[in-house]
């Protein structure tokens, strides 16, 4: 690492200490910044202030998933701070880039925030604690080993001396950064594992929370835009004569040749005028794509002779199926889905000379910065991405930053220094998403005379998010996001073969909450039930007997079965379904109890939702995530679909992309398990077992096995 880097880091230290009147304490840094600063005296995560408060930095994003609270809990625990003295502050994105990304990943996706940062966060807290202890030891002339730190108080029992953090902060900052620190035994955690109230909640109840859409700047102008309704299409020409005569209209511009934006003195005027811009679109040959053509393509993929085999294949599945007592085969279908977070896509960009400022709800500050560099050709270190709360992310704001690019290109058309806030309508948002892939699954299973699954085959046909969004080549021809759920079955099946058939369409694909795990369990866990029924066995016990080698899967499944009282007969007219999954490093299972009347009206009586995250930082937040994930899954199960006709999305707003509301909210009981030994994800795993458990219950109640979604197409509705 070069000198410049070190000097800018030192400058950072001085500045931050000067601003706060406090001291930043030191230790190891993540990733490549680590080498550059060994032996340096900065801790980029912990700052002790003279008034005894402790500022803990938070690097990732917050969109309601709660890690802005839970990640600092980890630091505070190892620091032995009292939670009351902790203040939480976002890491500045520009500083992060100037310091060679010292804070590690900011991108907030894949239920990774806690899993992937817990180690360096624990180290940060422990190292800062050690430096405070060393400072106390030298000040008091006592051995460090005799010093205790608890709840923000440093004490030496023998001499009776005691100090808060603030008084020792300056001396602590002078101490050498420990080479290594010993992390606590989980049994000694006192803040990890506690349901601390989320720090971002108070501003959400009085309207003061600032989302991307809320940013207001002097001299700001506003834009609404229309992108080619056919994916991949472009603008041939547009006539803005009429629009330009309307009040407040400033400009009408084409963006990237694929969209037209109207700029006005307020957003409503811009959006009204946009309706009057006449745009000629070129569909670029995609105008004929429809549900039917896509389905035909996928059906071909299910039968195609050439597909990419998966690495976990074992034994001889064909032979096992040939020898089986009974063989079952079934095809499953899951549709495209949109994210539809409540805050539509939008961004505010201001270009001032070489400097770019951007305010946008995002899951990826890195993505925002990268998109500014790409769109405007500016230097990374001249991009200032400002922090705001995201009004929901669910993966939409973590993959592509297309909306930020659009805002940047509009800003580039305006006089230097003019901030522009670009905001999509809900219709634009629904029709220009990066959708959850449509996928089909062809499953085959063979049973022996003892009701054991002896052979298993799965063909997964899906587009590839990685390939389409990122242009990434697929390792072994398999997109691992599309096949998660099939890569390592929790069931012990000696002979299995699974393969992936890449099936690209022109529909943009993206990471939708729970990604592959949002859809593969719909097929896998229902097919397991189909096999159980064929074997004449109870679906819970059928699963258990195939799980002899998977302790953790068994554990959560048993806990959930126990919580719903699986082995007791339900009340008359009630039926149950169960499913298990192992997503994002966690183990989740669900059981659903419901009744269905003759008209197909489903009444969900109860959902039991269980998760084992290994270690668990904030239990109440885990419960909130499970509740939310269940709502998410039930919406998708009942009504979720994005249909394509003439190359365009047919759905446009919440009237035709229906989401669950209060009146249909089921009763949810959560089972939290923290068996230790690993750190699992939270935001996404909750959804995975809900869909199949729900559909298994419907099959139990009605005898109808629903193999394609949504349920509304099978005559079902929700009470």
């Amino acid at each position: 690492m070069n000198k410049q880097f070190n000097s800018s880091r030192r400058k950072f230290m001085l500045t931050s200490a000067a601003i706060s009147g406090g001291f930043a304490l030191g230790l190891q840094l993540p990733a490549k910044a680590q080498d550059a600063v060994s032996g340096n005296d900065i801790n980029i995560w912990v700052q002790i202030n003279p008034d005894d408060t402790v500022t803990i930095k938070y690097a990732r994003c917050e969109m309601g998933q709660g890690s802005m609270t839970s990640a600092p809990q980890i630091v505070a625990d190892e620091l032995d701070a009292s939670w009351d003295q902790v203040r939480i502050e976002y890491v500045d994105v520009n500083e992060h880039f100037r310091m060679d990304r010292a804070w590690g990943a900011m991108v907030t996706v894949g239920s990774q925030t806690i899993r992937n940062s817990q180690e360096y966060l624990r180290n940060a807290g422990a190292s800062a604690r050690a430096m405070l202890v060393a400072a106390a030891a030298s000040e008091w002339g006592v051995p460090a080993s005799e010093i205790n730190v608890s709840n923000g108080v440093i004490s030496h029992a023998i001499s009776g001396r005691e100090s808060g953090f603030g008084a020792l902060a300056a001396a602590a900052a002078e101490q050498a950064v420990p080479e290594t620190v010993t992390l606590k035994d989980p049994a000694d955690w006192h803040i990890i594992g506690q349901s601390k109230p989320r720090v971002d909640i108070p501003p959400s109840v009085d309207g003061s929370q600032v989302y991307g859409v809320d940013v207001e700047l002097p001299g700001m102008v506003y834009a609404s835009m229309a992108t080619s309704p056919v994916f991949g299409g472009s603008v041939i020409s547009f006539d803005a004569t009429k629009a330009l005569t309307r009040k407040g209209i400033i400009d009408v511009v084409a963006i990237d040749g694929i969209a037209v934006a109207v700029v006005a003195d307020n957003w409503w005027r811009a959006n009204k005028a946009l309706e009057e811009v006449e745009i000629q679109w070129d569909t670029k040959g995609n105008g004929e794509v429809s549900n039917e053509t896509i389905l035909a393509q996928f059906n071909e993929s299910l039968a195609a002779p050439d597909a990419a085999p998966m690495p976990n294949n074992a034994g001889d599945a064909d032979q096992a199926l040939a020898n089986a007592e009974q063989v079952l085969e079934a095809d499953y279908f899951t549709p495209f889905l949109s994210h539809s977070p409540m805050e539509p896509m939008g961004a505010t960009v201001r270009i001032t000379g070489e400097r770019v400022d951007i305010w946008a709800s995002t899951q990826s500050p890195e993505g925002l910065v990268g998109e500014m560099v790409n769109a405007l050709g500016v230097e990374e270190e001249n991009v200032y991405a400002h922090r705001v709360q995201a009004g929901g992310g669910f993966g939409r704001r973590g993959g592509s930053s297309d909306y930020a690019r659009a805002a940047a290109l509009i800003a580039a058309e305006l006089p230097d220094g003019t901030p522009v806030k670009m905001l999509w309508t809900r219709e634009e948002d629904t029709q220009h998403d990066f959708y959850r892939p449509l996928a089909m699954y062809r499953l085959k299973g063979g049973l022996d005379a003892n009701g054991m699954i002896t052979g298993w085959k799965a063909r997964i046909a899906s587009g590839s998010i990685l390939n389409q969004m990122r242009g990434a080549p697929l390792r072994g021809g398999v997109d691992f996001t599309a096949v998660e759920g099939f890569t390592q079955l929790p069931y012990n099946i000696p002979d299995q073969f699974q393969d992936f058939k890449l099936t690209p369409t022109h529909v943009p694909l993206g990471f939708w909450r729970t990604v592959g795990w949002s859809q593969t369990p719909f097929a896998r866990e229902q097919f397991i039930d189909e096999l159980a029924v064929a074997a004449g066995e109870d679906p819970f016990h059928f699963r258990l007997k195939h799980m002899a080698e998977d302790e953790l899967s068994r554990h959560i499944l048993e806990k959930v079965a126990e919580a719903i009282g699986w082995d007791e007969t339900p009340a008359a007219g009630l039926y149950r379904g169960i499913a298990t999954t192992e997503p994002y490093g966690s183990y989740t299972a669900a059981a659903v109890e419901l009744s269905v009347n003759d008209a197909g009206v489903i009444n969900i009586h109860r959902i039991v939702q269980g998760i084992n995250t290994g270690h668990m930082v904030n239990p109440d937040n885990v419960i909130a995530q499970l509740e939310g994930a269940t709502v998410w899954a039930i919406s998708a199960a009942m009504w979720g679909e994005i249909n394509i006709d003439q190359g365009k999305v047919q759905e446009s707003n919440f009237h035709d992309y229906r989401l669950l509301r209060m009146a249909q909210m089921p009763v949810i009981d959560t089972v939290l398990e923290a068996t230790g030994g690993f750190w699992g994800g939270v935001g996404e795993p909750g959804q995975a077992p809900i869909l199949p458990a729900f559909c298994n219950a419907i099959a139990a109640a009605t005898g109808t096995r629903v193999r394609s979604l949504p349920l509304k197409h099978h005559g079902f509705s929700l009470a």
Binding site: T425, R426, A663
Partner: protein
């Protein structure tokens, strides 16, 4: 035209058909009221007009003249409204984007019916929450109402 918002009179120069939502957000710069659908489907834009919950994205500004408009910023000065406090106590919001609208709907429900039943809540609380916070919204409303069965909390006070 003249609009009375949160007990203050504002003179605004806007088209009569401009939805009240955009006057509130972009002209009066009160950002707590949110845009999410624009077609009266989701309730993110809920304000009170003469005490009634109204979806301001589909309500022309001109129709609000002479009426008392209350936004999320106007229900208390310091987040001290019992509904706001219950929202914090029950840790209701996730992303929070829908919650101004949810709170405005809940305040109105509780003003009309101090002890709402589950059925009352279902009927009055029709706003969409993509994060799925409905259970906690229900618990918080019951808590404000003093319907005690639901008051157990999983987190520390």
């Amino acid at each position: 035209m003249e609009l009375r918002v949160n007990n203050e009179i504002h003179e605004v120069d806007v088209e009569p058909e401009m939805p009240l939502l955009w006057v509130i957000r972009d002209i009066l710069n009160l950002k707590g009221t949110k845009f999410a659908c624009g077609i009266s489907q989701c309730g993110a834009c809920t304000v009170h007009i003469d005490g009634e919950p109204v979806r301001s994205c589909s309500y022309p500004a001109s129709a609000a003249q002479g009426k008392e408009i209350t936004t999320i910023e106007g229900i208390s000065l310091d987040a001290s409204h019992p509904v706001q406090q219950a929202w914090v106590k029950h840790q209701v919001p996730q992303c929070g984007y829908c919650q101004s609208g949810q709170i405005m709907a809940a305040v109105s429900l509780l003003e009309k019916k101090a002890r709402p039943t589950d059925a009352d809540i279902n009927a009055a609380m029709t706003n969409i929450c993509r994060c799925g916070t409905y259970k906690r919204i229900r618990d918080a409303i019951h808590d404000v109402a003093g319907n005690t069965a639901e008051n157990t909390l999983a987190y520390e006070a």
